[in-house]
Each structure stands twice: as structure tokens, then as C-alpha cells.
């Protein structure tokens, strides 16, 4: 088994009366991509901030790379790459200058800096943008630059807080590609997301979080198998609620979110046929995914804050 990079036990954070992180345990192993999946307000960013030493914990144990985490520890910071939720690039500076300045914060020598900048611009597919002022970049390019910036000191682990939130699908795919590349190179990735697809695609293991508590953890496939039936039929339409509910019962378990019914089962093709016979009804038959797991575990969907 790979060595442990992060170890957290009974990790707790309160702001006044409010418990934001409620005694959670997890371990991240070297080389894996570990995800925190949860809605806004679940405590994901707070956990990230605790790991990088920007938020002191109120209880429990937390060690990163074998060191007990205390705020502002240069020895830990030197080995981590951090991609914050909000881009905090120097918008007045050029793309290359942003990397240059960051290299200096890590105390890299001129020779290493030049090498690293070339290499990272290439990695981020921004080589032709080296002298472009940052404020003229697109959202996806800025995000790629922030990721490149997190890599200047060749970290053992990169922590990404919602790496693709707010990006269009194409830009998102490009980021996923880059992150997959990092994983290939053996870099441990830790990411938070509220995109089910992102979690399923990138993460070896996931931790599902709601209101500061862990609901479950495991690989995306395990979680889906453990909590939901393999097929899901989404039904919506003009038909009265009662009619739809009736149909739902045909498949077995069903749930309603907004104006959509989710019918869970093993062989739903026949149910689909019957739904289609009804006028004013639409439906979609698909394999179960993490979104369904989340709905099952919390009773609300990922988009809603808690």
C-alpha cells in the first residue's frame, strides 16, 4: 500500500456555535486522486484551508506529509501546490511574470526559474501567451495558469478547490486532461468539487460530505453500487403528479426532486416504454451515478447549498 500523505482524525472546526467540520476522519495516499464531493457549505473549502495551514483546527489530529499541521509552516507549504477557489493571479502582470513572481516566493534560483517557467507554460498550453497581461485571458486560461503556478516548486501533492467551477465544458475538459497528466506523473491530487462528472472522472476515491459530516467514502463505482440501483429513469412532464407517481411505483423505489421523478431499479426498459405511452410525459433512462448517491444519502441534490 502507498504511504499516507494526509492523515486526519476527528478533525473539527467551529465558527462560534456553528460546526463547519464535524469530527471527520480520512486518509489520503500517495499518488491517488482524492475527492471531496459536496454542495456549497458542506465544509470542503474549510478542510482544504485546514490542510494548507490557513485555518487552525479546533479539534482532532491532522498531519500532512508526516508533519503535524500548524499555521504558516514553510516546510509543508514548500511541498504543496495550491489552486484556490478564486483565482488570485496578479492581473496587472503578464502570464510569465506571474510564474516568475511565484517561483521567487519559493526561493528558486534564476536558472531553475527559467527552466520551470518554460516547462509550465507548455504544460498549461500557454507558451504563446507568455507576454500576455493576465487580465486579458479567458477564464479557462486563467485557471490553467493558476494550476501551472501551483506547480512551480514541483510539489508532491496539489490541492485544488473547485478547479473547474464556472468554466464552459470545453475549458473544463482541457483542465481534466491536465490533471490526468499530473496524476500520471505520480503527483497526489486532492480536489473539491460539486460536479459529479468531475468526481467520477478524476477521483480514485471520494468522500461525500454534507454539513461538515462524512456520509460515505470509497471509489466512485463502489459508492454507486453500495447506495443505488444500477438504472435510473428520470420522468417529467405535464401529467398530473399522481399519474407520474403511479408510474414510479412500477419500477420500485422512486424519489421526487422539483418536477422530476427519479425511478430506481434493475431493468427499467419496460417502465420506460409505459411512460412513453402516456401523452405529455418525457423520460430518460441512464445508468446510476454519484448524483443519485448524493440524493440518496442527503435527500437533496448537489446543486443546493445546505
Amino acid at each position: 500500500m502507498q504511504p499516507t500523505i494526509i492523515f486526519a482524525s476527528n478533525l473539527t472546526k467551529r465558527y462560534g456555535e456553528r460546526v463547519v467540520v464535524d469530527g471527520i476522519d480520512f486518509e489520503v495516499r500517495q499518488g491517488e486522486c482524492f475527492g471531496f464531493l459536496g454542495p456549497n457549505g458542506a465544509g470542503k473549502s474549510t478542510i482544504m484551508r485546514m490542510i494548507i495551514g490557513l485555518t487552525p483546527r479546533d479539534g482532532g489530529k491532522l498531519s500532512v506529509l508526516g508533519r503535524n499541521v500548524v499555521p504558516e509552516d514553510p516546510a509543508i507549504a514548500a511541498q504543496l501546490g495550491i489552486v484556490p477557489q478564486e483565482n488570485n493571479l496578479d492581473t496587472d502582470l503578464e502570464v510569465g511574470e506571474n510564474l516568475e513572481v511565484y517561483c521567487r516566493y519559493f526561493g528558486l534560483t534564476a536558472k531553475v526559474r527559467e527552466e520551470r517557467i518554460e516547462q509550465l507554460l507548455q504544460f498549461a498550453q500557454l507558451s504563446d501567451r507568455r507576454h500576455t497581461p493576465v487580465h486579458t485571458l479567458s477564464g479557462g486560461m486563467m485557471r490553467r495558469l493558476v494550476i501551472a503556478r501551483s506547480l512551480v516548486a514541483q510539489p508532491k501533492m496539489v490541492i485544488l478547490d473547485e478547479p473547474t467551477t464556472g468554466l464552459d465544458p470545453q475549458a473544463r475538459h482541457l483542465i481534466w486532461q491536465r490533471l490526468a497528466k499530473l496524476k500520471e506523473n505520480g503527483i497526489t491530487l486532492l480536489l473539491t468539487t460539486h460536479y459529479m462528472e468531475e468526481a467520477a472522472r478524476l477521483c480514485d476515491r471520494l468522500l461525500i460530505l454534507d454539513q461538515g459530516r462524512i456520509l460515505d467514502q470509497g471509489s466512485p463505482e463502489t459508492l454507486v453500487r453500495r447506495h443505488v440501483e444500477p438504472e435510473v429513469l428520470e420522468v417529467w412532464g405535464r401529467e398530473g403528479d399522481r399519474g407520474l407517481a403511479e408510474l414510479g411505483t412500477l419500477g420500485g423505489r422512486w424519489e421526487r426532486v422539483g418536477d422530476t421523478f427519479y425511478v430506481y431499479g434493475f431493468q427499467l426498459e419496460s417502465v420506460r416504454q409505459r411512460v412513453l405511452e402516456r401523452e405529455g410525459c418525457s423520460c430518460l433512462l441512464r445508468p446510476a451515478n454519484l448524483e443519485d448517491v448524493f440524493l440518496r444519502l442527503t435527500g437533496h441534490d448537489l446543486g443546493e447549498g445546505s
Binding site: I52, L54, T55, A77, A78, P84, L93, V101, Y105, G107
Partner: protein, 259 residues
């Protein structure tokens, strides 16, 4: 021991300063014009305008007298503006502090870099004011050796004081309190435009503990008429303001960001 270490900046603070310098260079011309305009207008407007009526203070004509006061006041204003508006923008809107703290840099490094940069802004505009004052005959070229180091020291003290305000400000509006209650009174009562000795004795006692009084006294030794015209005391007062404010600023920025 650990507590003390949290207040000692590392070499990384130099890189914070460099970052600010790099950004400033992009807009150097506009920034110079902006920061020099006001002190030069004061120098010319008051030196020539008011000087015509005042004539001379002591054995100096008013232009010569007021030039050293303006140099002192500018060291306060330049550093204050940079640490307040620049510092607050970097801490809040641009999240520059957060970006820095995601590296081996510490809060002490970030704050020290801010203050050093604020003092640099005092030095940049102070140098220009010195050159203009020199061309008008207000400064001797030799006095540059005293004037500019004093300007830098003053910039460190005022920059550190302003960082304390930055650290506790909820918004940009809050700065007005600091200007109205602290810097503007110093500008008007600490000997920039007239000798402190002409103030009522009670006010003099109050003014004696204000840092700008001591900066003016150092930059205008002959004409200050100040009671303890001891260089060591002036330096000590400015130094105490600088160090105490730095410690407070680091603690307050830390309390604000590490939550």
C-alpha cells in the same frame, strides 16, 4: 520562542517587495505624476504664495522652510496611501496575500514586504521632491545624505502604522477615520508649515509624541525650535512607532486571514 519567530520576517519578504515593485513599474509614469502632483503644488503654492506674506521664519525664507516640511509630510502621505489603499486592495479584492501565504511565505514576510514597499514609495516621491526643492535652492545637495535616509525611516514607521489600519478596516470607507483623526492633524500641527513652538503649550505636549513632529525635526534641524532637538530621541520615537506598529500589524493581519 515560537511566538517571537512568528514576527520575524524571512528573506522571502524581499520577494514580496519585488512583486510590488514589478507591478508598480508597469504604471510608473502615471503613478509618479499622481504622487508628485500634490506635494509639488503645496511646495510651489505655499512657498511662493504664502511665502510672499510670511517672508521668513527664523533666518530662512519661507520656501526653504516649508520645503523640508513638505518632504516630511510626503514621507507620511506616500507610505500611508500605499499601505492603506494598495495594501487593502491586495489583502481583500485581489487576494494577493492569500496567494503569497500559499507558498513558504509567512504573514510576517507579507507585512514586512508591504511596509518596505510603502517606505520605497516615500523614497521615490521624496527623491523627486528633493530634486525640485534643490533646484529652487531649498536644499543643499549635501543634505541628501541625511534627508533620504530619514524619509525611508519615516516611510517604514508610517507604512507600519497604516498597515495596522488596513488590517482592521472592514471597508475602504473606514480609512477616512484614520485620515481625519491621525494623518491630517499631524499634517497641520506637527511643524510642517510653522514652528511647533508657536502652538499652545498643551498642544505642544501632544504634538511631541506624534511621529511626524520628529521627522520634521530631523529634516529641518536648525529651524524646528523644538525642545529636545536630540537626533537620538527623534530616531528612537520614529523607531518605536515603526516596530510597535509592525508587531501589531502582523498580529492583526494574522487574526484576519488565518481563521
Amino acid at each position: 520562542m515560537r511566538v517571537i519567530r512568528g514576527f520575524i520576517p524571512s528573506r522571502g519578504s524581499v520577494q514580496v517587495w519585488r512583486r510590488h515593485f514589478l507591478v508598480w513599474k508597469k504604471n510608473a509614469v502615471a503613478s509618479l505624476a499622481g504622487s508628485l502632483g500634490e506635494p509639488l503644488l503645496y511646495l510651489l503654492g505655499l512657498g511662493y504664495g504664502l511665502g510672499r506674506f510670511v517672508g521668513a521664519i527664523g533666518d530662512k525664507n519661507y520656501m526653504v522652510y516649508v520645503a523640508s516640511g513638505i518632504l516630511a509630510a510626503n514621507s507620511m502621505n506616500s507610505a500611508t496611501f500605499e499601505a492603506i489603499y494598495g495594501g487593502f486592495t491586495r489583502m481583500t479584492r485581489q487576494n494577493t496575500f492569500h496567494a503569497m501565504l500559499a507558498t513558504p511565505l509567512t504573514v510576517a514576510d507579507v507585512v514586512a514586504g508591504e511596509i518596505a514597499w510603502a517606505a520605497t514609495r516615500s523614497l521615490i516621491s521624496g527623491t523627486a521632491i528633493f530634486l525640485v526643492g534643490w533646484s529652487l535652492g531649498a536644499f543643499s545637495l549635501g543634505s541628501v545624505l541625511v534627508a533620504l535616509p530619514v524619509v525611508v525611516l519615516a516611510g517604514l514607521a508610517f507604512g507600519a502604522m497604516a498597515m495596522v489600519v488596513t488590517a482592521i478596516s472592514p471597508s475602504y470607507d473606514f480609512f477616512l477615520y484614520y485620515f481625519t483623526l491621525v494623518t491630517t492633524p499631524m499634517f497641520l500641527f506637527c511643524g510642517v508649515f510653522y514652528p511647533v513652538a508657536s502652538l499652545p503649550i498643551l498642544v505642544q505636549a501632544f504634538v511631541a509624541v506624534m511621529p511626524l513632529t520628529h521627522v520634521v525635526a530631523l529634516l529641518r534641524p536648525e529651524a524646528s525650535g523644538f525642545v529636545f532637538a536630540e537626533v537620538g530621541v527623534h530616531l528612537a520615537v520614529i523607531g518605536v512607532y515603526a516596530v510597535a506598529s509592525f508587531i501589531a500589524a502582523v498580529a492583526l493581519v494574522r487574526r484576519r486571514i488565518i481563521v
